[in-house]
């Protein structure tokens, strides 16, 4: 079955350093979504990427969708304490049903 793998599982960075999390699918995706879950909260949608090679930016966050539509990344520039949380990618199989499969998430911890 479809698998969505996310690395790293945990990341500790000094405040001000950059952070990247990677997402890889075993199958081609029609689109990929990213979510953020703050400690004690529920996942909240950040963005969706649809096109091959697509790059989108939200302030200090840069999202990329691979050319083959099987991988994606989220890069945060100059992390801040407000970036703390777990970042999940979620991919939908191309040509299949609407089910979205989540990665295990990357937990980001910021060291002051």
């Amino acid at each position: 079955g479809q698998q969505v793998m996310q690395i790293p599982q945990y990341q500790h960075v000094q405040e001000g350093e950059d952070f990247t999390t990677y997402c890889n699918s075993s199958t081609t995706l029609s689109n990929i979504q990213w979510y953020k879950q703050r400690p004690g909260g529920h996942p909240v949608f950040l963005i969706q990427l649809v096109k091959s090679g697509e790059v989108k930016k939200q302030k200090r966050l840069t999202f990329q969708f691979g050319e083959a539509k099987k991988n994606s990344s989220l890069h945060i520039t100059a992390t801040q304490t407000t970036d703390v949380g777990t970042y999940f990618c979620a991919g939908r199989n191309a040509g299949r049903d609407d089910k979205i499969i989540f990665g295990k998430g990357t937990r980001l911890h910021i060291l002051p």
Partner: protein
């Protein structure tokens, strides 16, 4: 409110008892998902409803778990003969679902924290 709601917010039960968790999706959302999240872990897919199609039950961990959905509205997740390993936060999410444009954000409810003693 216009968001996804879940009840109860917290449930403490004894091992062996049955529990029923409820999810009210956003009105008009045809897709509904149930996930389980153990402490500090990722989202574990349980079941997916899309309109009137047969639900995708491939994530249910055992036959003690079942879920129903009435049309495109409320869903209930039932866990029979609860075990301690069932302790987790159970999250429900809804989205506009199949047939819509590709923008298909999932809106999550606050979750039900289940503790099995």
């Amino acid at each position: 409110g216009a968001g996804v709601s879940q009840s109860p917010s917290n449930k403490v039960t004894e091992k062996g008892k049955d529990v029923e968790l409820r999810c009210d999706p956003i009105s008009g959302h045809t897709a509904l998902y149930w996930y389980r999240q153990r402490l500090g872990q990722g989202l574990e897919f349980l079941i997916y409803f899309q309109g009137n199609s047969a639900p995708d039950k491939s994530g249910l961990p055992s036959d003690r778990f079942s879920a129903e959905r009435t049309g495109e509205s409320v869903s209930t997740l039932t866990i029979q003969r609860t075990q301690q390993e069932d302790s987790a936060v159970y999250l429900c999410a809804s989205s506009l679902g199949q047939g819509t444009i590709s923008y298909n954000e999932q809106f999550f409810g606050p979750g039900t924290r289940l503790t099995v003693l």
